[in-house]
C-alpha cells in the first residue's frame, strides 16, 4: 500500500469528493481529499502527490489558480481539472496550468479511471 501513488481530490462539495472516492475505490492509488485550495496545498506540503484532480469553482482560489501554483512548486505532480463550465475559463489560464487532462461534470467513471491510470503510470486492465 505504501508504494501506491497518491491522488489528491479537491472540491468544495463533499458529496462530489465522496462520489469520486467511490468511483476510484478499486484503483491501486491512495486517495486524499481537500475542500479548498488551502487544504490542498497543505496536503502537497505533507508528502509526494502524484496527481491532483481539482474542481474549478471554489471559494478563495479557483482550481486553475491552484493547479498553476502546483505546476511551479511541484512540477512533477500531474494536474487535472474537473469542472462543470470549462467553456468559461480563459484559454491563457488553462495553458498556464499545463494540464494533463480535463474532465467535465457530470463525469464518466470509466473515463475518469482511464485518465487517472495514464496520469499515474499504471497499466490499464
Amino acid at each position: 500500500m505504501v508504494d501506491e501513488p497518491v491522488v489528491l481530490l479537491v472540491d468544495d462539495d463533499p458529496h462530489v469528493l465522496s462520489a469520486l472516492r467511490r468511483g476510484l475505490r478499486r484503483e491501486k492509488v491512495t486517495i486524499q481529499t481537500a475542500r479548498n485550495a488551502r487544504e490542498a496545498l497543505e496536503r502537497l506540503a505533507e508528502g509526494t502527490i502524484a496527481l491532483v484532480i481539482s474542481d474549478y469553482c471554489m471559494p478563495g482560489m479557483s482550481g486553475v489558480e491552484l493547479l498553476t501554483m502546483i505546476r511551479s512548486d511541484w512540477p512533477s505532480t500531474k494536474r487535472m481539472l474537473l469542472s462543470g463550465w470549462t467553456d468559461e475559463i480563459p484559454a491563457a489560464e488553462l495553458n498556464a496550468a499545463d494540464l494533463f487532462g480535463m474532465l467535465s461534470k457530470p463525469w464518466d467513471d470509466m473515463e475518469l479511471r482511464t485518465t487517472l491510470r495514464r496520469a499515474v503510470g499504471l497499466a490499464n486492465d
Binding site: 458529496h15 469553482c57 471554489m58 461534470k105 457530470p106
Partner: protein, 731 residues
C-alpha cells in the same frame, strides 16, 4: 354793376342805369314808379303771400356817425319815420349799428346780416360806406331826401341795391323795399351755399374716382372712351399719347379676350338696364403665358346712353386665395392622415373636431360610433385619474400644457386603454383661450412591448447567473451520475453474494456438512472479495447523498421558475422581506463562493405590489452588487449587506455592496436605457432602467450613493399606500 344784377330779382336797379343813360329816364320818376308799383302789389296781397322770414338782421347807419366815432352811447337816434317803417316789416327785426367803416366791413362779412340801411347820409359818407360793403356782401338800401335825384343817382353808382325817398309814402314803401331785398338776398345766399355743397361733392367724387384702386372707364354707345380714371390708364396705358388718347375705342386699349367678354356681355345685358350687374371674373392669357384675372362690374348710365365699366385686376388676390386653399387642403390632408389622434375641444369640454385616427381610437373595436364624436363630452372618454382632473380638463381650466402625459381612455367598446396625451390651449392673437387641441396615441402596443422587454430583461438577469446555475446543477448531477454508476456496480456485487448465499441455503437443506462448509467458505470469500461491509454501508450513503443532490437541483429549478414567472394582473399584498430574501437566496446559491450576505431585516407591513416585478428589481440590484464585487479582482469574499426598515409611510430596502463602486461620471447615467459599463454580452443595459420604471410604477423611487473603491448603496423606497389602481396601465 353786372354782379349786382345777378344777385337780385328786383327789376328796379338792374335796368335802371340803362334807362337813365339810354332812355334819359329820370331816376326820380323811376323811383316813384317803383314805389307806386310796390304799394299796388302789396294792396293786391302779392307780397303778403310770401312766407315769414324769421328774424331780419339789419345794419342801420344814420348821419353824424362817420369814421372815428366809436362811442355807442352817443350814437344819434334813428328817425321816427324810419323806425315806424321798420316796425311795419311784420317780421322781427334785429337792429345793428356799425360804429365805423371797419365795423361795417366786418358786419358785412357775416353771412347772417340781411341788409345795410343808410339813412340820409351826406353824399361823401354814403359813397365811402357803400364802398365798404363788398361786392358779395348783403344788399344796401339808401334813404335819400324826397326828390333828391342827384343823391339817388350817386347811391346807385356807388353800388346801392335800391333807394327810397324820405317822402309822403316813406313808412309804407320802406318795409316793402326792404322785404324785397332781404328775400332776394336770402335766395341768393341759399343758392351760394348749395353751389358750394355741389362743388364739394364734385371734388369728393373726383377724388374717389381718381384715387380708387379700380380702373373706371365711361363709354359712349359706340364704344368710344369718354372718360377714364388714373387706375384705368395705369392698367391699360393709352396706345397713342396726347389729346387724341381720350377718343380711343375701348377695344384698342384692353386685351382681346377681355374686350370680347365685355362686348358679349353688352349684348346680353340690355343697355337700358341701370341696375347694378354682378361682378364677372374674366381670365386672360397674356403673351408670356401668364394668366391675369380681372373682375368687371358694369352699369349703364344716362338711360343707357353711356356705360361705366369698373375693372379690377384680382390676379394677386386670386393667387392668394388659391394658395390659401392649397394650404388648407394640405393641413387637412395631414390631419386626416397622421397616425396620431387629434381632437379639438371647445370651452364647454365638447369635442368639436376629431381626425379619423382619433375617431378610430375613440370608437374602439366595434367600429364607427353610431352618433359620431363631434359634440360629445370629453368626459365620456378621458379618465379622471384619482381625484385630479385629466390633462385636457386641466388645460381647459387653467391652460396647463401637457406633453406625453400617460393617462387612460375608455373606448366606446368599453375597454380601457393606456394613451400618451399632449395638449395645449388654442390661443388667439390676444392670448385668449378658445379651447384645447389634444394629440394622443394608443399605448397598448407599446405597453405590451414594454412588458416583453421587462420579461426579457428578467431572463437576461438570470442569464448573468448562468455560470452559477451550471455549476450548482452540475455538481449534484456529477455525483448523482457517478453514484448511480457505482450503485449499479454494488448491486452486481451484491447479486453475486446473494447467489452464493442462496446456494448455501440450498445445500444446507440437503444436510451434507462438507458441501455446506464449502458453500459457506465461498460466501465468506465472496464477501471479502466484494468488500461486503463497505458496500452495505456505502450503498445507503450513496443513496442519501444522491437524493440530497437531487433535492438541490429541484430547489434551483424551482427558484428559477418562481423568479421567471409573470405577475398576476393585479397588485397583491407582498412581503418585501420574503421577496428580498428569496431573491438573495438565488443569488447566494449561484454566487456563494465569492459573496457573503449580511442580513438586517426590520419588520415590514405588506404593501400592494407586483411581487415578481419587485423581485426583478432586487435581482438586478443583487446581480449588480455581485458583479461589482467580482470586478474588484481580489480573492477575499465580498459582502452584500441587506437592510430593510419601515420609515414613516415608506418601506426602505437598502442593498449595500463592498464592490468597485460607480464612477462619478457614470452616476447620472446609470438609470438610462442601454447604458452599461459591463463588457459586451454581460449585461443588457436595461437592468437599472427597467428597475427604475418598475419602482416608479409602484409610486416609489431608487436612490443611489457610491464611492469608487468603497462600494455602492442602492436604496429602494416604496410607499405603503401605492398609486391608484392602474391595472391596465401598469401591466
Amino acid at each position: 354793376m353786372i354782379g349786382r344784377c345777378e344777385r337780385t330779382h328786383a327789376i328796379g336797379y338792374s335796368v335802371w342805369p340803362l334807362l337813365v343813360h339810354v332812355l334819359g329816364y329820370s331816376p326820380d320818376r323811376w323811383i316813384r314808379l317803383q314805389e307806386w308799383l310796390r304799394i299796388a302789389m302789396h294792396k293786391n296781397k302779392i307780397l303778403e303771400a310770401e312766407s315769414p322770414l324769421g328774424v331780419i338782421r339789419i345794419v342801420v347807419i344814420v348821419p353824424g356817425q362817420g369814421a372815428g366815432r366809436s362811442d355807442e352811447a352817443e350814437l344819434p337816434p334813428m328817425a321816427v319815420e324810419t323806425t315806424a317803417g321798420l316796425a311795419r316789416l311784420g317780421d322781427p327785426v334785429e337792429l345793428l349799428r356799425a360804429q365805423s367803416p371797419d365795423a361795417l366791413r366786418l358786419l358785412c362779412a357775416d353771412s347772417s346780416i340781411d341788409l345795410v340801411l343808410l339813412d340820409r347820409l351826406d353824399i361823401a359818407d354814403m359813397v365811402d360806406l357803400l364802398s365798404e360793403i363788398q361786392a358779395t356782401g348783403p344788399p344796401s338800401v339808401v334813404i335819400v331826401s324826397d326828390g333828391a335825384e342827384e343823391e339817388s343817382l350817386e347811391a346807385f353808382r356807388a353800388g346801392a341795391s335800391d333807394c327810397v325817398y324820405f317822402g309822403p309814402e316813406f313808412e309804407r314803401v320802406l318795409p316793402l323795399v326792404l322785404l324785397e331785398q332781404v328775400r332776394g338776398w336770402r335766395v341768393h345766399r341759399q343758392k351760394r351755399v348749395s353751389d358750394q355743397r355741389i362743388q364739394q361733392l364734385e371734388g369728393l367724387y373726383a377724388a374717389i374716382v381718381t384715387e380708387m384702386p379700380t380702373g373706371m372707364v365711361v363709354l359712349d354707345p359706340g364704344g368710344l372712351i369718354v372718360a377714364e380714371n388714373a387706375e384705368f390708364s395705369r392698367m391699360f396705358p393709352p396706345q397713342n399719347s396726347g389729346p387724341a388718347a381720350a377718343s380711343e375705342f375701348l377695344v384698342a386699349r384692353i386685351p382681346i379676350a377681355l374686350s370680347e367678354r365685355i362686348e358679349k356681355e353688352s349684348v346680353s345685358h340690355s343697355g337700358t338696364d341701370s341696375s347694378r350687374a354682378p361682378a364677372e371674373v374674366v381670365r386672360v392669357e397674356e403673351v408670356e403665358g401668364e394668366t391675369r384675372v380681372y373682375e368687371i362690374r358694369r352699369r349703364a348710365i344716362e338711360e343707357g346712353a353711356r356705360r361705366i365699366f369698373l375693372i379690377s385686376d384680382v390676379t394677386e388676390s386670386e393667387w392668394l386665395t388659391d394658395r390659401l386653399d392649397v394650404a388648407r387642403r394640405e393641413t387637412r390632408d395631414i390631419i386626416e392622415n397622421i397616425n396620431s389622434a387629434l381632437i379639438v375641444v371647445d370651452l364647454a369640454g365638447r369635442i368639436s373636431f376629431a381626425n379619423p385616427a382619433a375617431e378610430r381610437i375613440l370608437a374602439g373595436e366595434d367600429g364607427a360610433l353610431s352618433d359620431g364624436v363631434s359634440g360629445r363630452q370629453i368626459a365620456d372618454w378621458f379618465a379622471a385619474e384619482d381625484e385630479d382632473s385629466n390633462p385636457i380638463e386641466a388645460c381647459l381650466e387653467n391652460g396647463t400644457r401637457s406633453r406625453g402625459a400617460e393617462t387612460l381612455l375608455l373606448r366606446a367598446d368599453g375597454k380601457w386603454i393606456p394613451i400618451g396625451l399632449s395638449c395645449s390651449p388654442r390661443l388667439d392673437a390676444q392670448g385668449v383661450s378658445h379651447g384645447v387641441v389634444a394629440v394622443f396615441q394608443d399605448l397598448s402596443e407599446i405597453k405590451e412591448l414594454e412588458q416583453q422587454v421587462r420579461q426579457t430583461e428578467k431572463m437576461a438577469s438570470i442569464g448573468q447567473l448562468a455560470a452559477g446555475v451550471a455549476h450548482e446543477v452540475n455538481n449534484p448531477m456529477g455525483f448523482i451520475h457517478a453514484n448511480l454508476h457505482q450503485m449499479s456496480e454494488y448491486l452486481g456485487d451484491l447479486n453475486k453474494y446473494f447467489e452464493a448465499t442462496d446456494r448455501l441455503h440450498q445445500v444446507a437443506m440437503e444436510g451434507d456438512l462438507e458441501v455446506i462448509r464449502a458453500a459457506a467458505d465461498d460466501v465468506r470469500v465472496l464477501a471479502r472479495e466484494i468488500d461486503l461491509d463497505y458496500v452495505r454501508a456505502d450503498f445507503e450513503k450513496a443513496l442519501l447523498e444522491s437524493s440530497e443532490g437531487a433535492d438541490r437541483i429541484r430547489h434551483i429549478v424551482k427558484d428559477l421558475r418562481d423568479f421567471s414567472r409573470a405577475d398576476l394582473p393585479a397588485r397583491t399584498p407582498a412581503d418585501l422581506n420574503q421577496a428580498l430574501d428569496s431573491t438573495a437566496n438565488i443569488v447566494f446559491t449561484m454566487m456563494k463562493h465569492r459573496v457573503e450576505f449580511e442580513k438586517d431585516y426590520g419588520e415590514l407591513p405588506k404593501i400592494a405590489a407586483y411581487p415578481m416585478q419587485i423581485k426583478q428589481v432586487f435581482m438586478n440590484l443583487l446581480v449588480n452588487a455581485y458583479q461589482a464585487i467580482e470586478s474588484r479582482g481580489t480573492d477575499e469574499p465580498g459582502v452584500i449587506r441587506l437592510e430593510t426598515s419601515s420609515v414613516d409611510d415608506e418601506v426602505v430596502i437598502r442593498i449595500i455592496d463592498s464592490g468597485l463602486g460607480i464612477a462619478e461620471d457614470d452616476l447620472p447615467h446609470i438609470f438610462e436605457p442601454f447604458f452599461t459599463t459591463k463588457p459586451v454580452g454581460a449585461g443588457t443595459g436595461l437592468g437599472l432602467s427597467t428597475s427604475f420604471s418598475i419602482v416608479e410604477r409602484h409610486g416609489g423611487r431608487i436612490l443611489v450613493e457610491s464611492e469608487v473603491g468603497r462600494g455602492a448603496t442602492f436604496e429602494v423606497r416604496l410607499p405603503l399606500v401605492g398609486p391608484g389602481p392602474d391595472e391596465a396601465a401598469g401591466r
